[in-house]
C-alpha cells in the first residue's frame, strides 16, 4: 500500500471517529430558557443578545464542578456589571440533589436545572464540567473542558476580558 493510500485511509479513520456532534466554537448555542429549565438560584436570565454569556454545565456528584462554583461566582461579581452573564446548568437526574447542591454553595449567579437533560444532550458536553463562553452574537467562542483550578480561572478571565473588549 502506497503512502498516498495510507494517508487517505488515515484521513477517513480520523473523520469517522471524530463524528461526535458536540457543539464547537463558531456554533450557535441553544436557547437557555424553557419550561424544562427551572431556575434554582440567581436572577431571571436577561436577554442574552449583545452580552457575553458563560454557560457552565455542572452536576452535584462532580467534584470539579463544586470547585468551580466559587470561581464562577467571583467572575459574576467582577464582570456582571460590565456585560457578562454567568449561567450554571445543572444536569442531575435527581432534582433534590441539584437543589441541595445549590443551597449549600449559594451561588450569586443564575442557576437552572436541565431536569430532562435536554440541553446537555443537545450540546453534547464532552466532560463534566464543561463551560462555554459565548460572544455577543450568541455563538460559542471558547470551550473549557473540565475545571483545572487557578489555570482555568486565569484562562476564563483573560477570555472574558477579550470578549468584553470587542465592539458590540
Amino acid at each position: 500500500m502506497s503512502r498516498r493510500e495510507l494517508s487517505l485511509l488515515a484521513a477517513v479513520v480520523v473523520a469517522v471517529t471524530s463524528l461526535r456532534g458536540a457543539i464547537q466554537p463558531g456554533d450557535r448555542f441553544p436557547a437557555l430558557t424553557g419550561d424544562d429549565l427551572p431556575r434554582l438560584a440567581g436572577e431571571a436570565l436577561p436577554e442574552p443578545a449583545g452580552r457575553i454569556v458563560l454557560v457552565d454545565f455542572w452536576a452535584s456528584w462532580c467534584g470539579p464542578c463544586k470547585a468551580s462554583f466559587p470561581v464562577l461566582d467571583q467572575l459574576h461579581r467582577d464582570y456582571g456589571a460590565k456585560g457578562l452573564v454567568v449561567v450554571g446548568v445543572g444536569v442531575d437526574e435527581k432534582p433534590a440533589a441539584a437543589a441541595d447542591f445549590v443551597r449549600r454553595l449559594a451561588p450569586g449567579f443564575t442557576v437552572v436545572h436541565d431536569r430532562a437533560q435536554r440541553l446537555v444532550k443537545a450540546v453534547a458536553v464532552p466532560t463534566m464540567p464543561t463551560s462555554y463562553l459565548l460572544g455577543r452574537d450568541g455563538r460559542v467562542r471558547f470551550v473549557h473542558r473540565g475545571f483545572h483550578g487557578e489555570r482555568s480561572a486565569r484562562e476564563l478571565r483573560a477570555q472574558i476580558e477579550t470578549l468584553l473588549a470587542e465592539k458590540p
Binding site: E5, C62, Q117, V125
Partner: protein, 78 residues
C-alpha cells in the same frame, strides 16, 4: 483511479467499523449520566480491609514487594 476502486472495500470496512464505534451501536455512558457510577457504593477502595487484602494478594502472587506502594519489581521471595 483503478487503485482507488481497489481500496473501496477496505474504505467501506473502515467507515463501518468506525461508525460502529462512534455511533449508536454501542451503549455509551455519557458524561452527564455518570451519577450512579460516582456513587460511594461503586468505589473500588470504599472498604479499607478489602483493599488491604487485595493488595496483599497482589504483592504475594505477583511477587511485587511493597505492593503498589513502591516502584520497581519484587524479588519473588514472598
Amino acid at each position: 483511479m483503478r487503485r482507488l476502486f481497489r481500496l473501496l472495500p477496505l474504505l467501506a470496512a473502515v467507515v463501518l467499523l468506525g461508525s460502529g464505534c462512534a455511533g449508536t451501536n454501542l451503549v455509551r455512558v455519557q458524561p452527564w449520566e455518570r451519577a450512579t457510577l460516582t456513587s460511594y457504593a461503586l468505589r473500588p477502595d470504599r472498604d479499607a480491609l478489602h483493599t488491604a487484602m487485595m493488595e496483599h494478594t497482589f504483592f504475594s502472587r505477583e511477587a511485587a514487594a511493597g505492593g503498589r506502594g513502591v516502584g520497581g519489581n519484587g524479588c519473588g521471595c514472598n
